[in-house]
């Protein structure tokens, strides 16, 4: 049973399916999410896959300050997701309200409506920042589930530092 449990946990870490929800933003962050999933940065190499339904997803990427109108919809969609479920707030608006802070019709952040696991600030965040946020979240999840981070993404391991003999001069180092 322990082996099966471990296998399932590892599979969950290796294939986090994400669902994307816009709660009243300007589409800037949404475009950057798409850019992060595209081949240049390629979030899919971690097994991240964009799916069209909250029922299939493990992680919800949420952008925008939550407007009054969309709050019940967001909560209903969050309830539709299957456990274990996590939420990433992407963009300044989703983190704290952003430029809409102090407006009469927003709640000021996704964490006012549903619990949030990770925040990615920026207006909009660069695709590499979204990538970093997703990787941080995966590391946290790996810790929670007891999977070693090395299994998570072997290609992300730091390359061995180049050995340079400090006693020699710079010119000789360049020759070797």
């Amino acid at each position: 049973m322990g082996f099966l449990r471990r296998l399932v946990d590892k599979a969950k870490i290796k294939s986090p399916w994400v669902f994307h929800f816009n709660s009243g933003g300007c589409n800037g962050c949404d475009i950057e999410i798409i850019a992060a999933l595209m081949p240049r940065l390629d979030l899919e190499r971690f097994g991240v896959k964009l799916v069209g339904s909250p029922r299939h997803a493990d992680i919800m990427l949420c952008t925008g300050p939550v407007t009054e109108q969309i709050k019940p919809r967001l909560q209903r969609i969050y309830e539709q997701m299957a456990e274990p479920k996590y939420v990433v707030a992407i963009g300044s608006c989703a983190c704290s309200g952003g430029v809409f802070r102090g407006a009469y019709n927003v709640l000021g952040g996704v964490d006012q409506a549903i619990p949030v696991t990770a925040y990615v600030p920026g207006c909009p965040p660069k695709p590499s920042a979204i990538m970093h946020g997703a990787y941080q979240l995966l590391q946290v999840l790996a810790e929670i589930m007891g999977v070693s981070p090395k299994e998570l993404a072997p290609e992300f391991e730091e390359p061995p530092a180049p050995t340079v003999d400090t006693t020699e001069t710079g010119a000789e180092v360049a020759q070797t």
Binding site: G97, G102, Y104, Q112
Partner: protein
């Protein structure tokens, strides 16, 4: 602050020079043809090129729009914006005249205690949505709108509150609420 403060005004009329000839041609034609529909002292050519402002009496608005469509081929509507001027509320219709390459703004002032003017949605179908919006946000009512409905505010918003008016006092503390300082506790979600 010391000394006489310069009067802050939006009105910056242009000189009658070569740069603004087309705009003055249009404005002179309008003032000549529709002299009784417009408020002449509020009509001017802005110093920025290709920009004309006209203020129209609310009861003559439909006639003025028909005249512009007939005589000046005004078919492209940009948007409708609202303003709170204190005693008056103002609806600004922004149109483009593509042939003359001029943007014209048609202002309609309505009194605050009876903010009503005739709707032009049947003449210009493009303003259907924004006329609903101005009724919600400013309480300026386009009378005779074919499809009045709530479009932007939440369903539980009180009917007599208009959030973009200057004197809206935020009775439920909504603006303070959105200045969040951290996640809401899980049991309150």
């Amino acid at each position: 602050m010391s000394g006489a403060e310069a009067e802050v005004t939006e009105r910056r009329p242009a000189e009658r020079d070569e740069l603004h000839k087309r705009e003055y041609d249009l404005l002179d034609t309008i003032l000549q043809d529709m002299a009784d529909a417009v408020v002449a002292e509020e009509c001017y050519v802005h110093v920025q090129p290709r920009r004309v402002f006209v203020r129209v009496h609310p009861d003559r608005l439909r006639e003025f729009i028909r005249y512009m469509q007939r005589e000046h081929d005004m078919w492209q509507v940009s948007t409708l914006s609202g303003r709170d001027l204190g005693d008056d509320l103002q609806a600004n219709y922004h149109f483009f005249l593509n042939d003359k390459k001029i943007a014209i703004t048609i202002k309609v002032n309505v009194p605050r205690d009876k903010p009503e003017y005739p709707s032009i949605t049947d003449l210009v179908p493009g303003v259907d949505f924004v006329e609903n919006e101005i009724r919600e946000m400013f309480g300026i009512v386009p009378v005779g709108h074919p499809n009045p409905r709530r479009c932007e505010l939440p369903e539980n918003w009180p009917g007599e509150e208009y959030p973009l008016r200057k004197d809206w006092a935020d009775p439920r503390g909504l603006m303070k609420r959105s200045k969040t300082t951290g996640p809401r506790p899980k049991e309150e979600l």
